[in-house]
Subunit: 558 residues, 2 copies
């Protein structure tokens, strides 16, 4: 008698593409994967089909790209795996966040409507849309003045990437789009709406990106009123008040979604989640002590703990935000792989081969002894997320000489990102939360072995590597198995799902103790630059002001 | 009746090659030029024909390369100009400095002797040999302790590039070479010795590089004794005590030199001089008010004044050092063109075309508005000569982001060198010495128009350009005309020679006042970095210590 295979589908909506994976519920075997790149990708220069130029710091997307990618990738894994829709007991999705859009009461994106299509504010604001910094500054200053009780949970600073900064930018700059929006919604929740026909809002994005907590709900309307007169009722008017937790069932596939995806109507659909957060159990971590680093273009750090502490500069502490029953602490570095790619592009201006350049750089960098480059960098090429929460900070390279080689610079850039990680670990330690080891996932750990060894050496902690190269999609498939539940052949909890479906690879990086003294010295230099350059009157900050003014003025060019 | 053309030859010994120019004494017309690259070039990896590796910071040359270049270039200008040796009334030379070598009593370089040929200390130490920093540190600290009276003339710090640091390094590391050397001599004076058969020592290198002054002579033997027991009599034992001034006649061409060069025996030979200093009258400057900047791989700044003032961080103030009767103030920037070339090489790792890369960078940089790059750099890629006099300082780039382009960085590097020039001008102003305008010469002004405009904008002063593209060789030819004197058809003084033989080009760069506010802001950021990073406990300095230690230790490489 052969056991019938039971499978779930996880769909991970990333920055450039969506990826579906079909997973065996019993042992986590990844039976098939399909990836589809969004047609319009990241929209940061002009709206598709229009001449309308976007300001720097804007980053939009087209929601129809998500729908197309959803249909194609789910159909793709079904067909290439040979698994029948009857064997699929559930589907789960995860998304970048805060990635949000204005929609009508039936879920229609405003950018689909002809009257709004040429208004950039009607499109999806991607997580890395940074143009709402003035609104974030206002939110921070009003919250400080009012001594808002939720401030401590977010390290006392909120980011321009988050939900209410983006929502307020719409109100400020396009009141007509704001007025026409029946809902402002996370793309994650919008996709679940497309699958089930039912609007819902997940606790993970609500907690990490929209200032919500299970115990205290959203901030008070008086706070929102203090930001702008018409903003007082943003929660009541623009958001669904029902908040559901990861692992719960949001609903089932409806007829339209069945047509789109090839899944059976009635298939269980899990509550949506954030890509990084869903990676934690997929990297085997369901208890305190290990930090999960999701390392790609940027890095997200997630750590579980039994208690709620204030950690300055952390992006959020959310109860049940990652694993039910525990507090999930989120921190981040805004540019990691992006920074290495920047340097590779810089050296490969003629576009002959970035991957050749990258391999040659890693080879050169590997041959250097710690400290030999003579360089220290500040890794703020895209601002600093944790622990300074400031998108306006910029990078720095110190120590260049005529003998400085591309390999020297490349190694200093790698090291700088690890120094940044160490600052984050020390902030956790300072709040009484231990980090014994790191478990890494995302794209970088498999491409950049030197970076992994440096992570072990500079943090002084073992670095283990998740077995799956697609932890977000696997994590979504795991939550899909939990939402489906044991009755349908799924799992009782995410802890159970992790035990069966997640594993570590055999790669493990142990700290080389001989490098310790040099990295202590280099880290002390990094830390001093970190602290002085982030001061409000630093040269770095004044420089940014000069640049902003220069961009706005016209000066004769020599 | 046709006037017989009278000509002089100037030979400029640079870092990579020697250049002779044959000049019409009446109007400065450059009748012929010849250039010859030294066969061994700059020796900074291993001794020619030996496996002996040189430490970083070493830079040697082969004196036989100078002799070969002298013969070939002088013969070259004679033959290509059609001027007969009888029409040549004099020859003058200039040299990089301090570029020095140990020789026997008859002038034979020790490196020519088989017993010393494999000893690096027997070779010429080129100006940019930086391995005598420990000796320079000792000289500075002992001089401070002893309150040496000459310290003020040198901005209270001497450089590792100068004569006594290099001499002391020979004594410290190779006492046998030191003992065998009857003379330690500037290459400039050694070439004059080869031409005339008579040893002499010029006041310019003695003043700027060997702590000598017309009024006070060399430092006291007690000072040298305090540096090292065997060093007390370095002046008496290793140096000629007769010091002669630029414009004087050192002697005449002897038979051997006539064979070598094709010049007539008996032709007047001028006292040797330093390349940058001889450029001042060749750039038309023979009175106070204008700063001459000789801009090439490095930049040398020379300003004339009527009085002797203390200017902190200046490389020297020498009476008669540039123009008789005036004090010559010398400052310098250790890497200018070298720094731009470093960046061009960095981007052109595959060696496809540095000049293409350079042109494309200048095009990109020219299109930027002041401040638009968002970057400020510290131009210390080869240490800081003025006003900090410290070869151990390193470079810095502040403000990088994912949007930073090669053109942004290139422009920031150009600007940083001009900020460095502005620091030098402000130091002069602070000592009561005015700089109304700059006159530039050297290779860069003709290649890098953007740099010239930036120099005008950032210093707020007009920038004029010397007509001659080979001011050192022209200046040597001018001093040759003075040494020959009016009786032979030459000139009475260098002021007269400048009036007849030197001129400005029609290129002139005026400050664009609209750029002033932005550059004031950027300069204040530069100046703050300049002051904090040069502090004794700065991250920059600690980083250098880490690097030095790393180079000395063996650590397992990940």
């Amino acid at each position: 008698m052969t056991r019938t295979r039971r499978a779930t589908v996880g769909v991970d909506f990333g920055t450039e593409s969506a990826r579906a994976v079909l997973v065996d519920v019993s042992d986590g075997t990844e039976l098939a994967t399909a990836v589809h790149s969004y047609a319009a990708g990241v929209i940061d220069r002009r709206l598709p089909g229009h001449d309308i130029e976007l300001a720097p710091d804007w980053a939009l997307q087209d929601p129809d790209d998500y729908v197309e990618a959803l249909g194609l990738t789910v159909r793709g894994v079904l067909s290439s795996s040979g698994i029948s829709p009857e064997q699929v007991i559930g589907v789960g999705i995860d998304f970048t966040a805060c990635t949000m859009l204005p929609v009508t009461s039936d879920g229609t994106p405003l950018c689909r409507l002809p009257e709004f299509r040429d208004n950039p504010h009607s499109w999806v604001k991607l997580w890395k849309h940074h143009a709402a910094q003035p609104e974030a500054d206002l939110i921070n200053s009003i919250a400080e003045t009012r001594e808002e009780p939720w401030l401590d949970r977010y390290g006392r600073r909120t980011s321009s990437e988050w939900f209410f900064a983006k929502a307020l930018q719409i109100l400020d700059e396009s009141p007509e789009v704001y007025a026409a929006a029946d809902r402002l919604i996370e793309a994650a929740d919008w996709i679940v709406w497309q699958l089930t026909g039912i609007e819902s809002r997940n606790s993970c994005t609500a907690g990490y990106k929209a200032l919500w907590s299970r115990r205290h709900g959203f901030p008070d309307p008086a706070f929102f009123a203090a930001l702008a007169p018409g903003f007082a009722d943003v929660v009541a008017e623009k958001m669904s008040l029902e908040i559901t937790s990861p692992g719960q069932r949001a609903g089932v596939i409806n007829a339209a979604a069945a047509d789109l995806t090839g899944l059976r109507p009635g298939t269980s659909v899990a509550v949506a989640n954030v890509d990084a957060h869903v990676s934690v159990p997929a990297a085997t971590v369901v208890s305190p002590g290990s930090m999960v680093a999701v390392m790609g273009t940027s890095t997200c750090h997630l750590t579980l703990a039994d208690t709620e502490q204030v950690v300055p500069g952390f992006c959020g502490v959310v109860e049940d935000g990652v694993v039910p029953g525990l507090y999930g602490y989120e921190a981040g570095q805004a540019a990691v792989g992006d920074m290495f790619a920047w340097f590779t592009r810089l050296l490969d201006a003629d576009g002959r081969g970035e991957s050749d350049t990258h391999n040659s750089l890693e080879r050169q960098a590997r041959l250097l002894k710690p400290g030999e480059s003579g360089l220290v960098a500040l890794d703020w090429w895209n601002g600093n997320r944790s622990i300074l929460v400031d998108a306006d900070l910029t990078g720095l390279i110190l120590g260049t000489t005529l003998a400085t080689t591309p390999g020297d610079i490349y190694r200093a850039l790698l090291e700088s990102t690890v120094f940044g990680t160490r600052v984050i670990i020390e902030a956790l330690n300072g709040a009484g939360i231990d980090v014994h080891d790191l478990v890494v996932c995302g794209g970088l750990p498999y491409q950049n072995h030197l970076l992994m060894q440096l992570t072990a050496d500079i943090t002084g902690r073992p670095v283990r590597v998740a077995a799956s190269r697609q932890t977000p999609a696997l994590g979504s498939a795991m939550f899909a198995a939990v939402a489906a539940g044991p009755a349908l052949g799924g799992h009782e909890s995410i802890v159970e799902a992790a035990r069966h479906m997640a594993s570590l690879s055999s790669d493990e990086y142990l700290p080389d103790l001989s490098t310790r003294p040099v990295y202590e010295d280099l880290y002390s230099i990094y830390r001093e630059l970190h602290d002085t350059m982030s001061e409000s009157t630093s040269g770095m900050r004044r420089l940014r002001t000069v640049q902003d003014r220069a961009r706005q003025t016209t000066v004769s060019v020599p």
